[in-house]
C-alpha cells in the first residue's frame, strides 16, 4: 500500500552551506532532488525516511562547465540539461545518449544525475557511462570535500561510500579519447527500466583505451576490466565474451532472467566491438 504522508517533514535550505549544516546538525535527513525515485518508493510503501532535505532550489549545483581538461557536471543537472548541453554532447556523447533513454520527457525534466547515482540502482542508465568515463564523484560535507573515483563509489547493492552528512555535489569527467558507444535494452521504446545497459569506449587509432561497463548485470554497475584487457590484447570476440560472462553476475528478477541478461550482455559486447571497427 502507498506510504503515509503524515508525519513526514521537509527542510528547505537556502544555500549549499545551509544544506550541509542541516545535514550535520539536524540529521539524519534524506536528500531530495528531482524526487522521481523517492516518489516511487513512497508509492510502493518502502520510503523509510521521515525527514527530507530539499536540494531542488540549489541552482549552483546545476552547472555544467569545463575546467582545464575536466568536464564538471553539477549533481542537480537534470537529464534534460545533459541532453541539451553542448559540452556534454561534445565531450561525452554517451552520457547524452544515456540521459535521452531515461524515462520519458517529464522524468528527464525532473530527474537529476546526482539522484541517478545516489539512488544506486544497478539499473541506473547513467552509471555505466560514468564508470566507462573514469568519472570522479565529488562529495561534500560541512567539514570537507572528497573526490572518489566512480568505480570505487559503490560498495554493494544500493550501498556507497557516501556518508550520511555528505551530499554528492558533482562529477568530474576527464577527457575521453576514442569512440563512445551506449546501448540500453528495455522492453519498450521509452519509460522502461533497463534489462541490460552497456557503455563502451573503443580506441580510435592510437588514442584511448578499451573501456566496457555494464548495468543491471550485478549488484552494482560493473566495469569489466578483464574483458577490456582481453579486447585490448587482441583476443577473439568469443574469448572476450567468455571473459565478460565471468565478470558479471546477473540475477532473475521481475524485469528479466539471469540467462537473458548473460546472453544479451555477450551479444552487445560483440555488437559494440563490431560497430567500433566499422569504418
Amino acid at each position: 500500500m502507498i506510504g503515509s504522508l503524515s508525519h513526514r517533514t521537509l527542510l528547505q535550505p537556502r544555500s549549499l552551506t545551509d544544506a550541509l549544516k542541516m545535514l550535520r546538525d539536524e540529521g539524519p535527513l534524506v536528500p531530495l532532488a528531482g524526487c522521481t525515485d523517492l516518489y516511487v518508493s513512497l508509492n510502493f510503501g518502502t520510503l523509510k525516511g521521515t525527514r527530507f532535505l530539499n536540494l531542488w532550489g540549489l541552482a549552483g549545483l546545476k552547472d555544467i562547465s569545463v575546467r582545464g581538461d575536466v568536464l564538471s557536471i553539477g549533481a542537480l543537472a537534470t537529464h534534460t540539461d545533459l541532453i541539451r548541453s553542448p559540452l556534454v554532447q561534445k565531450r561525452i556523447p554517451m552520457l547524452a545518449a544515456a540521459a535521452r533513454e531515461v524515462g520519458g520527457v517529464q522524468i528527464q525534466n525532473r530527474g537529476t544525475l546526482g539522484g541517478n547515482v545516489a539512488n544506486a540502482s544497478p539499473a541506473g542508465d547513467t552509471l555505466p557511462v560514468l564508470a566507462a568515463a573514469d568519472a570522479v564523484v565529488v562529495l561534500r560535507s560541512a567539514a570537507e570535500t572528497r573526490r572518489v573515483p566512480f568505480t570505487t563509489f559503490y560498495t554493494g547493492y544500493r550501498q556507497s561510500v557516501r556518508r550520511l552528512d555528505e551530499l554528492i555535489v558533482g562529477f568530474e569527467i576527464p577527457a575521453i579519447h576514442g569512440r563512445q558507444w551506449f546501448r540500453k535494452v528495455g522492453t519498450r521504446a521509452a519509460q522502461a527500466i533497463s534489462k541490460v545497459v552497456i557503455a563502451g569506449v573503443a580506441p580510435a587509432g592510437r588514442a584511448g583505451s578499451v573501456r566496457v561497463a555494464l548495468g543491471s548485470v550485478a549488484p552494482t554497475v560493473v566495469r569489466a576490466t578483464r574483458t577490456e584487457a582481453a579486447l585490448a590484447g587482441g583476443a577473439t570476440i568469443g574469448d572476450a565474451q567468455r571473459t565478460l560472462l565471468e565478470e558479471i553476475a546477473p540475477i532473475d528478477d521481475i524485469r528479466s532472467t539471469s540467462e537473458y541478461r548473460r546472453r544479451v550482455a555477450a551479444n552487445l559486447l560483440a555488437r559494440f566491438w563490431a560497430d567500433a571497427h566499422r569504418k
Binding site: A189, I254, R255, Y260, L268
Partner: protein, 711 residues
C-alpha cells in the same frame, strides 16, 4: 424491406468522419469523469483487502481505525470465519475526511488470517496431489464437442502438427480506475459511477442495498475505459454506498492501481494441446484439441477453438482450472483473442509443412463467404495493400541483427444489439433534445446518437442536444459485446423519424400540402422535389406551439445487423541480439455494417490494435509461484505500449449499409497478437507458441532454433 425508418440511401452525415461532440471538453478538462466528481462534505473511502491468496479470517479489529483522526465510518465487509479466496478479496473499509487519513485508518484495521493452501498457477491446481481448495473441485471438465470421424480425418492427412499453444492472463488496466461517489438523501441514493452499464448499475445497487430501484439514480457522463470490466457497482460500489450511509455524508471511493489489477477482472489464460492434419495440397482434415485455462477463483475460462477455419473433422475438450486469483471478467471480445492465437499460429505451422503461402492456405480453408464472413475478399485486398508479395519465406535472409517478417490473422464477432428506448423533444424554438439511457464509454456513443438524429432532421450535429449516461433516461442496455451502436442507433432513428412526422403534421397545412410530401434536408423542411416551397427549420418549429413535440420510441428490427469479419496483417522486426520485437506496421480490415461515424469507428480499430500489441508484447499478470501474490500490480512492471511502441496502423473499413448498424468495439482487437506472432515467426524462423513475446522468451527460442531447428 425499405420503410419510413430505413436508413437514408444518400446520407449527409452517416459514414462521414465526424469529430467527437465532447472532444473539446475532454482535452480542456471540462469533461467530468467519476474521478472528478466532488460533492460538498465529501469523504474518501478506502478498502482493506486480503494480502493472502487463500485464508480464513480469524478476527477483524476495527477499534483503532474508528478512533483515528478524521474517520467517519468503518465497516467489516466479511464475517469472522469467512474465507478469502484471492489476494485483494475485500475484507473491510473506512471513510475519512481526507484521502491520506482514510489510508492511515485503513492501515489501522487489524485483520488476522489463518493461511490456507492456495494455487498460484494452473500447474499447481491440476497436480494430482493438489489439496482441495475450491468447493466442488479445483477444475471443471466441460463437455466434449465432436464433429465428424476424427480417425478418418487424420488418416487423410499428409502432415500432422502437434504442439501446445498458450496465451496468458492480462488485466483490463482501465486508465480511470473503478469506483464511484455515493450520496444519500434519506433512503434515496445518487451514485456517480464509472460504469459501462448506467441503468443496470442502478438495478444492482438497489438489489444489493435492499432498496427500490426507483430510489437509485446513477450517472456516468465520461469514462476512462472499461473494456468489459465495469458492468456494475461491484464490491467497491456497494461498500461506498454503505460507508456513505453510515457516515451520513457523500463518499468517493476510487480504487488504486494495485486494487485494479487484483480485483476488477482479467482475461483468462488459455492453453491447448493440439493435433491437426492437412493434405498435401493444403486442405485441413482434422483437429483434436484439449484445452484448459484459468479465470481465477471459481470463474470460467472458455473460448472458441478451433477458430474460423474449416476443419471437417474435429474434437475439442475444455477444462476450467481454478486458482487463487481475482476472477476474470469479459475483456474485449471475450475468448476470441485466445482462440484466434491458438489457431492462427497452428495455421502458419501447417502451411509451412507443405511450403504453402499462409494467405493462400487460409483462403483455401475458409467457411463459405457471406456478408458476415468476408475473409476471402479481405485476405486478397489486404495482401495487395500490405505488399504481401514482398514477404520472404520463413526466416529473413537479410544480414545483420534486425530481422523483419510479415504475418496475418482473421477473426469474427457478433455485434448485434436490441432493446434500447429513446425520447426526442422538439421545441418551438427549433431546439432538439435526444435522450437515451445508453452510455459513452469512450467509444463515441454520444456523437453517433447525435449524428443519427441530425441525419434524420436534416440538420448539423451541433443542432442536437444529446442526453445519455443517466439512469433516469429511457432504457438502454449495458455497453458490452459491441452491442451499443446496434441497440441504440435504431431507437434514435425510429424516435427521430416519429418526431419528424409529428413536426411535418404541424407544418404541412402552412405549406398547403400533406405531411407525407415533406422532407427535412439541409436545415429546411420543404415539399419533396421543390425546395423553394418550404420553411427553415426554425420557422417550421415556430408552428409547434406551446406544447413541444415529445416522442418516445424504441429499437425496431431491420436497422441493425449481426456478425462481422476482419483480417489483419502485421509486420514486425526482431533484434536477434536482444530478442526485442518491434511492430512496424499493422493493416486492419474490418466491417461493421453501416458505418455511422467513420472517425470513431476507425478509432475503435486503432484502440483495439494497440490494446492487442500490449497483449502480444508487454502485458503479463505475474503471480509469485510460492506466495500467490501478484509481483507487478502497478504500471511500472506491468507494461503497456508507449507512443513510440505504436506502429503505423492502417484501417480499412468496409462500409456495408445494407446490413444496418453493427458494433465494432471488440473485433479489431482479436487478430493483432496472432498476426504479430506469425510475423515474428516469419522474421526469425523460430516458432513461439505462447504469449507474451517477451524478449527473454524470444531470445531463448532463437537460441533453440540455432541449436536444433532448421531455417
Amino acid at each position: 424491406m425499405a420503410n419510413k425508418y430505413s436508413w437514408p440511401e444518400k446520407p449527409a452525415l452517416l459514414g462521414t468522419s465526424v469529430k467527437r461532440l465532447d472532444g473539446p471538453d475532454k482535452v480542456t478538462g471540462r469533461a467530468k469523469y467519476t474521478y472528478d466528481i466532488n460533492r460538498p462534505g465529501m469523504l474518501y473511502g478506502k478498502m482493506v483487502r486480503s494480502p493472502l491468496p487463500h485464508a480464513r479470517v480469524v478476527s477483524i479489529d476495527l477499534s483503532a481505525a474508528e478512533k483515528a483522526p478524521g474517520v467517519k465510518a468503518v465497516l467489516a465487509h466479511v464475517a469472522v470465519g469467512a474465507q478469502v479466496m484471492y489476494q485483494g478479496d475485500p475484507v473491510a473499509a473506512v471513510a475519512a475526511d481526507t484521502e491520506e487519513r482514510a489510508l492511515d485508518a485503513a492501515r489501522m484495521i487489524r485483520v488476522r488470517y489463518e493461511a490456507l493452501p492456495h494455487f498460484a498457477n494452473v500447474e499447481q491446481a491440476m497436480a494430482t496431489d493438489a489439496p482441495a481448495v475450491f468447493p466442488g473441485g479445483n477444475t471443471r471438465q466441460g463437455a466434449t464437442e465432436e464433429t465428424g470421424d476424427l480417425v478418418a480425418g487424420f488418416a487423410k492427412a499428409a502432415h500432422i502438427v502437434e504442439a501446445t499453444y498458450a496465451t496468458h492472463v492480462i488485466t483490463h488496466v482501465c486508465l480511470e480506475t473503478h469506483g464511484c461517489v455515493c450520496e444519500w438523501d434519506g433512503d434515496k441514493l445518487t451514485a456517480w459511477i464509472s460504469t459501462q452499464a448506467v441503468i443496470q448499475s442502478a438495478q444492482q445497487f438497489a438489489q444489493a442495498l435492499g432498496i427500490p430501484q426507483a430510489n437509485v439514480h446513477t450517472i456516468m457522463q465520461y469514462m476512462g475505459g472499461g473494456f468489459g470490466s465495469k458492468f456494475g457497482p461491484d464490491s467497491q460500489g456497494i461498500i461506498c454506498a454503505k460507508l456513505a450511509k453510515l457516515a451520513k455524508a457523500p463518499v468517493k471511493l476510487m480504487l488504486d492501481r494495485k486494487e485494479e489489477h487484483l480485483d476488477t477482472g482479467n482475461r483468462p489464460s488459455a492453453t491447448a494441446h493440439i493435433r491437426a492434419g492437412i493434405t498435401a495440397d493444403g486442405m485441413l482434415t482434422a483437429f483434436d484439441g484439449q484445452s484448459w485455462g484459468t479465470g481465477g477463483a471459481g470463474a470460467t475460462s472458455g473460448f472458441p477453438l478451433p477458430y474460423i477455419y474449416n476443419f471437417p473433422t474435429r474434437k475439442r475438450t475444455h477444462k476450467d482450472v481454478y486458482i487463487n486469483a481475482g476472477q476474470q471478467r469479459a475483456m474485449r471480445a471475450p475468448g476470441h483473442p485466445q482462440g484466434c492465437f491458438l489457431t492462427e499460429i497452428l495455421m502458419d505451422e501447417l502451411a509451412d509443412t507443405i511450403k504453402m503461402d499462409p494467405v493462400a492456405f487460409r483462403v483455401k480453408n475458409l467457411p463459405p463467404a457471406a456478408p458476415n464472413a468476408m475473409w476471402a475478399e479481405y485476405f486478397a485486398r489486404g495482401a495487395k495493400a500490405f505488399g504481401w508479395d514482398k514477404r520472404h519465406a520463413t526466416g529473413d535472409p537479410t544480414p545483420g541483427p534486425i530481422k523483419t517478417g510479415m504475418g496475418v490473422s482473421a477473426h469474427r464477432w457478433g455485434g448485434a444489439g436490441q432493446g434500447s428506448q429513446a425520447h426526442v423533444d422538439i421545441m418551438s424554438d427549433g431546439g432538439i433534445v435526444v435522450k437515451c439511457g445508453t452510455q459513452d464509454i469512450g467509444t463515441g456513443t454520444r456523437t453517433i446518437v447525435g449524428m443519427v438524429a441530425a441525419e434524420t432532421f436534416g440538420l448539423p450535429l451541433s443542432a442536437i442536444k444529446v442526453e445519455i449516461g443517466d439512469s433516469l433516461l429511457p432504457f438502454s442496455g449495458g455497453s458490452g459485446g459491441s452491442t451499443t451502436a446496434a441497440s441504440a442507433m435504431p431507437a434514435i432513428r425510429v424516435t427521430s423519424v416519429d418526431a419528424l412526422e409529428a413536426l411535418f403534421a404541424k407544418v404541412a397545412p402552412a405549406l398547403g400540402t400533406a405531411p407525407e410530401n415533406l422532407v427535412a434536408e439541409g436545415g429546411r423542411i420543404f415539399i419533396k422535389g421543390t425546395p423553394a416551397k418550404g420553411l427553415s427549420w426554425k420557422d417550421a418549429c415556430k408552428l409547434i406551439g406551446t406544447e413541444p413535440i415529445s416522442v418516445n420510441g424504441k429499437w425496431a428490427q431491420g436497422l441493425s445487423g449481426s456478425g462481422t469479419s476482419g483480417v489483419q496483417f502485421a509486420e514486425a522486426s526482431v533484434d536477434i541480439e536482444t530478442g526485442i520485437v518491434r511492430v512496424t506496421r499493422i493493416l486492419a480490415i474490418q466491417d461493421c455494417g453501416l458505418i455511422v461515424d467513420k472517425l470513431t469507428a476507425e478509432s475503435q480499430a486503432y484502440g483495439g490494435v494497440i490494446a492487442a500489441i500490449n497483449f502480444a508484447l508487454f502485458e503479463d499478470r505475474i503471480l509469485d509461484r510460492v506466495t500467490g501474490q501478484m509481483v507487478n500490480p502497478n504500471m511500472e512492471m506491468y507494461l503497456l505500449a508507449g507512443m513510440s511502441d505504436v506502429p503505423k496502423i492502417d484501417i480499412m473499413l468496409n462500409n456495408m449499409p445494407e446490413r444496418g448498424v453493427i458494433g465494432i468495439g471488440e473485433p479489431p482487437t482479436v487478430s493483432t497478437a496472432s498476426a504479430i506472432a506469425n510475423a515474428v515467426r516469419n522474421a526469425t524462423g523460430a516458432t513461439i507458441r505462447s504469449l507474451p513475446l517477451h524478449p527473454h522468451k524470444v531470445l531463448a527460442a532463437l537460441e533453440q532454433e540455432k541449436a536444433g531447428g532448421t531455417n
